[in-house]
């Protein structure tokens, strides 16, 4: 298979502008003849659906939640980056581009990232016009704050709810189009398969989650904006419903899945408290500005933290990274916490955790200053744990948070399957092996507001798309397969719950394909995943009926897909014999334990082709060239 990224010619700063001119347009009167399906209503999906409808396309939008406003983008706390240089601190499109490629540990496409940086400024304009209440200075102009991986202040924010406010902006634009009849919204509707006719994506098969009815929807193009797959670990900071089903089903229909092993583990989350834990809660990265991370020097030290004198504490990040200290990047902070716990220094009985201690900051700045900065976070921590972080140190541990991998797309955000476009976290495109804070919101909205609406027009203007509707034999065939699968899930009638399998898979992935990986572990994991998958199909108990609201059935389908996808994730991690960004292979590290990239062998995108159940997936490579950003080893010592 020939993977063509379709990056336009010309100097990098002119590529997007030139491409916009060269792309074909759809005549305004013809736009209404085209139907476009958008799956997902987060930042990427809602902004794309609204923008496409504004252009005159007929849009159908689908989400599994009861309202498009609840997509998981809503939970993003920190902010959104943009190269506005309002702080006059030397920011520029070029600097944002440079920081993002470097932060991604040189595993992203330069041309895509440059375009993202260019568009970042338009996003802020658009959101302000929609009424997003960004933080402002007393003079009435927009405020900024700094974030990890950058030396300039370029992050725009709305208290600790930036994702919520940006999503509501996109949701309201989408709602306006629904009210105008330009978008037909299908809430509580889950995509269960993709329909490909003559090599082109022409529709989807969905399940109405209230009635259980399976239905087909045909269109001229399909857009997947269905987010990431961090819930493969069961415990993550993602919402409970986040899943890989839409992108995985597309992969099984021929779309390539790129870099699935690139996952981001966020260092500051509240540790799991017991066997019934259902999800993990993120505590903002900003806490590391004033909190000091430590563990007792003595293994298994059972004393209360206040009783452990300074001389018997190990402030390990400050010890290992004197210049960055507690502010090392996410991947480094996470891995070191794991090392400490694995070595027996955990501060959570029968579990994993390290201290994040504000004692010194409170002594230095006073309690009111700390309350002013972090009051709402402290309150949230206390609500969940019952402990008062003003008096005892917080206990934190890393948790899966974001996935950089996703369906492979070209510069136009179209997958190798013609007509299938993939945007936001669901694609692989812009973050390489590690995403910087405040960049996910930027990418979702760049794709949805400002890239896809142009590139999809270019596709529709030149594609040969004979009329098809949901009565076409291909839809009938896929519907039958979906129905058969539902019947199979219900028919196993075993003795283990869906969540029971999901927890086992999550544990396995966390241990073998989590913060650090090695050959033996990954090889064992692949065998174990196959066994677990087999047991799932022999012993899962779903219960209830297909023709009803059946939440266990919804989860069962998603877990069945995770059980297939996890294997590809491990294959990818196994084949990438280097450490980069969130992918740390224990065999490939420097003598002092830092990640060691291998640019001569692995400077490429790994795109995997599904070859059927039981067969090994096939690797395709898209080479990455770095012409503008100097390849360098990251150092935070």
């Amino acid at each position: 298979m020939d993977l063509r990224a379709n990056i336009p010619d010309g100097p990098i700063e002119q590529k997007w502008e030139r491409h916009r001119f060269e792309m074909r347009l759809v005549n305004p009167a013809n736009k209404r003849k085209f139907e476009i399906i958008v799956v997902g209503s987060g930042l990427a999906g809602a902004s794309a659906a609204a923008s496409l409808a504004e252009l005159g396309y007929r849009v159908s939008c689908f989400c599994f939640q009861d309202s498009p406003r609840r997509a998981h983008s809503i939970a993003a706390q920190g902010g959104i980056n943009a190269a506005k240089n309002y702080q006059n601190d030397g920011d520029s499109v070029w600097r944002l581009f440079y920081d993002t490629v470097k932060g991604g540990d040189f595993r992203s496409r330069e041309a895509n990232v440059h375009r993202l940086a260019e568009i970042s400024v338009d996003i802020i304009d658009q959101c302000v016009a929609q009424g997003v209440p960004f933080a402002r200075e007393y003079g009435g102009l927009l405020a900024n704050r700094s974030f990890g991986g950058a030396q300039v202040s370029r992050t725009f924010y709305a208290r600790g709810q930036t994702g919520q406010q940006l999503l509501l902006g996109a949701y309201q634009a989408l709602s306006r189009q629904i009210g105008l009849g330009q978008v037909t919204m299908y809430p509580r509707t889950e995509m269960l398969d993709l329909v490909v006719i003559d090599g082109k994506a022409r529709g989807i098969v969905v399940r109405d989650l209230v009635t259980g009815r399976i239905r087909s929807h045909a269109a001229h193009a399909v857009v997947l904006a269905t987010g990431g797959y961090a819930n493969v670990y069961f415990l993550s900071t993602n919402a409970k419903g986040c899943n890989v089903t839409a992108t995985w089903r597309a992969a099984k229909r021929g779309a390539l899945f790129a870099n699935p092993c690139f996952t981001q583990i966020h260092p500051t989350c509240i540790p799991a408290h017991g066997p019934h834990q259902s999800k993990l809660t993120l505590m903002s990265e900003s806490l590391r500005n004033d909190g000091r991370i430590w563990v007792p020097q003595q293994q298994g030290d059972a004393r209360r933290p206040g009783d452990i004198p300074d001389a018997e504490r190990d402030y390990y990040l400050e010890r290992l990274y004197p210049s960055f200290g507690n502010l090392v990047p996410r991947d480094v902070a996470s891995r070191r916490a794991k090392d400490m716990c694995d070595a027996g220094h955990s501060v959570v009985p029968q579990g994993h955790g390290v201290y994040l201690d504000f004692r010194d900051a409170i002594q230095r700045l006073g309690r009111p200053a700390i309350a002013e900065r972090y009051g709402n976070l402290f309150e949230m921590y206390q609500r969940i744990t019952g402990e008062n972080p003003y008096e005892v140190p917080m206990r934190i541990y890393p948790a899966p948070h974001y996935t950089m991998g996703g369906l492979w797309v070209d510069y136009n955000l179209m997958s190798n399957l013609e007509g299938l476009h993939v945007i936001g976290e669901a694609n692989f495109s812009d973050h390489g092996a590690n995403r910087l804070g405040a960049s996910a919101l930027m990418q979702g909205l760049a794709d949805g507001y400002f890239i896809l609406p142009y590139t999809i027009g270019d596709y529709l203007a030149q594609a040969t798309l004979p009329p098809v509707d949901a009565t076409h034999a291909a839809f009938r065939q896929v519907e039958a397969e979906v129905n058969e699968r539902t019947a199979r899930l219900l028919g196993v009638n075993g003795s283990t719950s869906v969540d029971g399998f999901h927890r086992q898979l999550g544990r396995l992935m966390w241990d073998r394909c989590g913060m650090s990986r090695n050959r033996d572990g990954l090889e064992q994991a692949i065998v174990a995943i196959r066994e677990l998958r087999e047991r799932f199909w022999q012993d899962v108990y779903v219960g209830g009926k297909g023709e009803d609201l059946n939440q266990a059935l919804e989860r069962a389908g998603r877990v069945a897909d995770f059980l297939e996808f996890a294997e590809v994730m491990c294959e990818d991690a196994l084949h990438r014999e280097e450490s980069c960004g969130g992918h740390f292979r224990e065999e490939y590290q420097t003598p002092d334990g830092e990640a060691k990239r291998d640019d001569s062998r692995f400077s490429y995108v790994a795109a995997w082709e599904w070859k059927g159940a039981g067969a090994a997936p096939q690797l395709h490579q898209e080479p990455l060239a770095f012409e503008h950003v100097h390849l360098a080893q990251r150092s935070y010592k």
């Binding site: 609204a50 923008s51 504004e54 939640q65 009861d66 309202s67 406003r69 609840r70 998981h72 809503i74 309002y86 338009d122 802020i124 304009d125 658009q126 959101c127 302000v128 016009a129 929609q130 009424g131 209440p133 960004f134 933080a135 402002r136 200075e137 007393y138 009435g140 102009l141 927009l142 709305a158 709810q161 919520q164 949701y171 309201q172 634009a173 709602s175 306006r176 009210g179 809430p187 919402a239 409970k240 419903g241 017991g274 019934h276 259902s278 999800k279 809660t281 949230m380 609500r383 969940i384 400002f450 003795s495 719950s497 969540d499 108990y541 219960g543 009803d548 609201l549 939440q551 266990a552």
Partner: protein, 258 residues
């Protein structure tokens, strides 16, 4: 700890519902309220009984999906806390807990604790937005917004659309929800051109959806997990009165009519 749960079970919109008693003998006070329901459901599934259907997603208090009435209070006893962030340490060993869905004509029960809140979306579709086509925006700093106005907009915009305000209201009014959106957008310069038409359209949609009228009980504010203030209702009423008593003549703007 041991808890006794009385949970509203209802097979579908047209079916008759009833409370069913369940005993959960061994839960941890560190569990969240929804994890309690998870544990109960795992037990029910193990006995091949039908699990309790309930809406939930982010479990960090921001998506607005979860929401049940716990001992008569939407989202339960803790101030400014959604059901997903409520933890069992708020209860005592041996407590009896009554759990039921939001009850309002405009929020029909779908199944068990799941209700249809589509009426909230319909009100936003009617006018809860600023018309700003993608690509048409001026430079973001071209219009300064006084910090006080931006903060007020943000206070109102914090609404998560969970519906607790409706469930708490003796009239099942959606006034707090509508007013929060109207105040959010109406407090910003970008929202002025549609300020009055927005209020009229959203209130019309509220009436059409079957929500009751506001009679200033204030229960909504007490139940709101984001502590949205009743002030937003005052602002809504003011804008609504202005829009209905002094509607603009043809061709005149709303702002100019005052």
């Amino acid at each position: 700890m041991r808890l006794v749960l009385h949970i509203w079970r209802q097979a579908g919109p047209a079916a008759r519902g009833a409370f069913v008693r369940y005993e959960v003998p061994d839960v941890s006070p560190d569990m969240s309220f929804l994890e309690l329901l998870d544990v109960l459901n795992e037990r029910l599934v193990a006995g091949k009984d039908e699990p309790v259907a309930f809406d939930h997603d982010c479990r960090e208090g921001i998506c607005g999906a979860c929401g049940v009435v716990i001992n008569g209070r939407p989202h339960g006893p803790q101030r400014a806390t959604t059901a997903c962030q409520l933890h069992l340490r708020r209860f005592a060993d041996g407590d009896e807990i009554w759990i039921e869905p939001w009850r309002a004509r405009a929020f029909p029960v779908v199944k068990d604790l799941v209700v249809d809140r589509g009426a909230f979306d319909a009100m936003v579709q009617a006018g809860g937005f600023i018309t700003a086509r993608t690509g048409s925006a001026p430079e973001a700093n071209a219009i300064p917004v006084p910090k006080r106005d931006a903060d007020r907009a943000m206070d109102a915009a914090a609404c998560i659309g969970c519906g607790a305000c409706v469930a708490a209201c003796p009239n099942a009014s959606a006034m707090l929800f509508v007013a929060a959106k109207a105040s959010h957008l109406g407090s910003l310069p970008q929202g002025q051109p549609e300020r009055y038409s927005r209020v009229v359209r959203m209130v019309d949609a509220m009436d059409a959806a079957g929500f009751g009228a506001c009679t200033n009980h204030g229960e909504c504010m007490a139940a709101c997990p984001k502590e949205i203030s009743l002030d937003v209702i005052a602002q809504l009423n003011r804008d609504l009165i202005r829009a209905t008593i002094m509607p603009p003549r043809e061709g005149k703007s709303w702002v100019g009519s005052a």
